[in-house]
């Protein structure tokens, strides 16, 4: 019985005193700073090794259109608008690969079959439910924006919460976006830490939750307690809600994980690099 006891283990982690988790995570944070510095050095090394493109990069014709465009989109190296280039570390790779394997098996033999059952519900309903769960994350997005001094974004999230909770029937619909063009702001506490210079730290693969890193993993803890469902439903109810949210989202997904596994030479590497690149991009935004 591969999955016997998963639920018990999840409950154990859930029950573990916050202090204990924080202690472990703080130890991790101590490791963040040197890692961030190392990352930076590697980044510089990467910058100086970009000559391989010189022969093929089209030369400037001397026309000055600098003012028209931000530099990021058109840097000299075709592929380096680089805030990040392999500036990550994965010393836990063997452990991560083991968890990746576990997640892979869980995906194919447990999560996906359950998600398929969800598909008996029509897509519009499932999309609505997905938006309802997402609506509850508006407060933490507003706070995260505020902490980065992005007041406009913060205001947008507060407006979205107010509009969608009322007019949007608890978030089932998204009138804030459809009628007022108020788009969701992708901000979280991990990005707040990144905004203030905390590097991503070691790459982590979390059981069932998937790719993360020390910084964002630590940031998940307060986010967990900031979830209104935690206060409304308590432990078991919250766990079930998280499960339903996850399964529902998976049921809406178009077998994307399957594609990565079939198409990539090494799915672990591909997912790791995409995750780290994306997080770096979100912080730089």
């Amino acid at each position: 019985m591969f999955f016997a006891g998963i639920y018990e283990n999840v409950r154990f982690v859930y029950d573990a005193k916050l202090a204990r988790i924080v202690a472990v995570c703080l130890a991790g944070v101590v490791l963040l700073s040197p890692t961030a510095v190392r990352g930076e050095q590697r980044m510089n090394a990467a910058e100086s090794s970009t000559e391989y493109f010189n022969n093929d990069t089209p030369k400037d014709s001397g026309l000055d259109v600098e003012a028209l465009y931000s530099e990021d989109l058109f840097s000299d190296d075709l592929y380096a608008d680089d805030d990040w280039d392999e500036g990550f570390s994965d010393p836990l790779e063997p452990v991560n690969r083991a968890v990746f394997w576990f997640n892979d098996k869980s995906y194919f033999y447990l999560l996906k079959p359950v998600a398929r059952v969800f598909r008996v519900v029509p897509t519009p309903v499932r999309s609505g439910v997905s938006r309802m769960f997402d609506n509850l994350k508006s407060p933490i997005r507003a706070v995260s924006s505020m902490l980065q001094l992005k007041f406009l974004q913060s205001g947008i999230e507060v407006s979205r919460l107010l509009i969608n909770t009322t007019v949007g029937l608890g978030g089932f619909y998204d009138p804030a976006k459809n009628w007022w063009d108020l788009n969701k702001q992708n901000e979280d506490l991990g990005q707040v830490l990144g905004h203030y210079g905390v590097g991503q730290g070691w790459y982590l693969v979390l059981p069932l939750l998937g790719p993360s890193n020390l910084r964002d993993g630590v940031a998940m803890i307060p986010e967990f307690y900031a979830d209104p469902l935690y206060w409304a439903l308590h432990r078991d109810g919250h766990l079930i809600a998280i499960g339903v949210d996850g399964m529902n989202a998976l049921s809406l997904d178009k077998d994307t994980y399957e594609s990565v596994v079939t198409e990539q030479l090494d799915p672990y590497l591909f997912i790791r690099d995409a995750y780290l690149q994306r997080r770096a991009g979100l912080v730089a935004e």
């Binding site: 391989y52 592929y79 997905s130 998937g210 790719p211 964002d216 178009k254 594609s259 995409a274 994306r278």
Partner: protein, 227 residues
């Protein structure tokens, strides 16, 4: 909590070019804004990167309708992909510093295999498309480089931003990178392949790619027969 992970996985796997297999429903939408350098303003409508992307999407849609009815749809899609992507530039980007270490023969072989690998990846994606709406955003051009922003609407209600980076080659605009939700396809391949190349030489990587292409081709052949 898992939404980050989900969002990103979604994005990664869409691999951007999914859009190329999508009906160009966005054409009808009026809110397309363009930012163009002065020298392009005259023929803004009938040429340029965004025009090329839209045209490609239209043409691939035709082939999409032909799935199962003609035996040539796959070849036609393949031809379109080959003419719209600059695989030489992409291959150099993917190999990065390793490009220097490779022999000319290995480089040539890599370009060949990488283009086949991407092609198989995207052809495998054709059937998965279920009519998601695409919206076109900004088009920015600077000399012979351009970025075209597009957005694809997912079932969950989120819009995923996908940008095409393009390079002008003899009057023709070709894609040299696809950026999905901040993740550059080429940089993604670059870091995975460089990790592989730390353990293997270029020859070993080429063998792995060849095996993967064979595997994907077989899979697609089976799908074709059951279609």
């Amino acid at each position: 909590m898992g939404s980050k992970a989900r969002g990103f996985t979604c994005a990664v796997v869409m691999l951007g070019v999914l859009q190329l297999f999508a009906p160009a429903g966005a054409d009808a939408q009026p809110q397309v804004t363009t930012q163009r350098a002065v020298e392009y303003s005259k023929d803004a409508v009938m040429s340029g990167p965004m025009f090329e992307i839209k045209q490609t999407i239209d043409r691939i849609t035709e082939q999409l309708l032909a799935i199962g009815t003609t035996s040539t749809w796959r070849n036609n899609v393949s031809k379109l992909v080959h003419s719209k992507f600059n695989f030489e530039v992409m291959s150099q980007g993917v190999l990065g510093p390793n490009w220097h270490k490779a022999t000319p023969q290995e480089r040539e072989r890599f370009i060949e295999l990488f283009s086949q690998l991407l092609e198989e990846t995207y052809i495998g994606r054709v059937r998965e498309y279920t009519g998601q709406k695409i919206r076109f955003g900004n088009e920015q051009i600077r000399q012979n480089r351009a970025v075209v922003d597009t957005y694809i609407a997912m079932d969950s209600g989120d819009e995923i931003p996908i940008s095409y980076k393009m390079l002008q080659n003899d009057d023709e605009w070709q894609v040299y990178d696809v950026v999905i939700e901040e993740v550059s396809l080429v940089r993604n391949y670059r870091s995975s392949y460089s990790s592989i190349l730390r353990k293997k030489n270029v020859g070993g990587l080429l063998e792995e790619m060849q095996a993967k292409i064979k595997e994907l081709k077989q899979r697609h052949a089976v799908e074709d027969r059951s279609a």
